[in-house]
Symmetry: C2
Subunit: 184 residues, 2 copies
C-alpha cells in the first residue's frame, strides 16, 4: 500500500512521517532524490539521496523516475523501480510536494493521497522562518506559493490539519487502517 503525504512546503510533512514511523516500525519510507544541497543534519540515503544534476537528468532520459519535478531551481524525484518494490511488500510512506503528488496520482491511482494543511497561515510562516536556511525573499515566495497550493487540497483523497503532530499521525494511522477495510 502506498501512502502519499503531501502539502505545502513548511507544513511539517517530514516530522509527521518521522512520528508515524517511530510509532509503527513496520512502515517503510520511500527516500527520494534531490539535486539540492543537504540541509544541516540531513543524511544521504535517509532523508534524501543527494545526486548530481547530470545523474538526475540521465534518469529522466531513461524514464526511470516515478515522478520528478523542478522546484525553485532544484530537481526532486524518485526511482520507479524502488517505489514499486517497496509498496508491493510494505505500507510505504511517500513525503512529497504537491506537484509531485499530482504526478503520482496518475502513476499510482490506488495510492492513498493525504493532504496536510497548516493550522493557520501564521503557523506556516513561523515554520518556514524557523528553518533559517532561506533568505527573506525566498520565504515570502514560498509562503505565497504555499497559500496558493492549499487550494489544490480538494484534488486529493483526505485532508488533515497539522496542529499537534502526534494527533496528525494518529489520524493518518486511522486513514491507513480504514483503507485496509475499504471495499473498492
Amino acid at each position: 500500500m502506498l501512502i502519499i503525504i503531501t502539502g505545502p512546503s513548511g507544513v511539517g510533512k517530514t516530522t509527521i512521517i518521522k512520528t508515524l514511523m517511530k510509532a509503527d516500525p513496520s512502515l517503510k519510507y520511500s527516500v527520494s532524490m534531490t539535486t539540492r544541497k543537504p540541509r544541516h543534519n540531513e543524511k544521504h540515503g535517509m532523508d534524501y539521496y543527494f545526486v548530481s544534476v547530470e545523474d538526475f537528468k540521465r534518469m529522466i532520459e531513461k524514464n526511470e523516475l516515478a515522478e520528478w519535478s523542478e522546484v525553485y531551481g532544484e530537481y526532486y524525484g524518485r526511482s520507479k523501480k524502488e517505489l514499486d518494490e517497496l509498496s508491493k511488500n510494505y505500507d510505504t510512506l511517500v513525503g512529497i510536494d504537491i506537484q509531485g503528488a499530482m504526478k503520482l496520482q496518475k502513476t499510482y491511482p490506488h495510492g492513498i493521497f493525504i493532504f496536510i494543511l497548516p493550522k493557520s497561515e501564521e503557523a506556516l510562516e513561523t515554520q518556514l522562518r524557523g528553518r533559517r536556511t532561506d533568505e527573506e525573499s525566498s520565504i515570502e515566495t514560498r509562503l505565497n506559493a504555499a497559500i496558493d497550493e492549499i487550494k489544490k487540497a480538494d484534488n486529493f483523497d483526505h485532508k488533515v490539519v497539522n496542529d499537534v503532530v502526534e494527533e496528525t499521525a494518529e489520524k493518518i494511522k486511522s486513514i491507513i487502517i480504514a483503507e485496509k477495510c475499504r471495499i473498492r
Copy 2:
C-alpha cells in the same frame, strides 16, 4: 454523520455497537422499532421500540419510516424524522440487517456503510446457537441465509472481520476518523 453497521444475523452487530458507545460516549445510537417480542434483558427505548403490528403498518402508510423490512415474519424499521435529527447533530450509529442497510443506501447515500463479517462460518453458527432463543430449524434457516448474505458485502463501503470485538470497534473508530478527513 451516519454510521451504518450491517452484516448477517448473529455476526455481533449489537455487541460491537455497545463496545463503540462505551469507548466514546459522544456517539449516539439510533433505536429502531420492531414488532417482535423482546428477548431476555432487552429494554423498550434502549434496544428497540417494541411496537404493535397495527402501529407499524400505520407508520408505513404515512411514509414516516427511513427504512423498514419484514424478516422472518416480524417488522423492523426506524423513524425518518428521528434519524434525520440525530445524524444532523451527532455521529449516529445504526445497527441494521442487510436488507435494511441496502434501503438506507438510497435514502442516505452519504452514510458510512460498514459490513461486519464473521471470523468463520463456525463462529457464526456458535453465535446463533448461543442465543438459545431460536428453534433448531430457525437456526438452520438463519445460518444458510447469513452465508448467502455475506456475498452482498461488496455492495458496501467497508468490511471488517469481527474476531475480537475490541479490535473490531477500534477499526470502526478508525473508519469514522478517516471519513471525517475524507475529501468528497
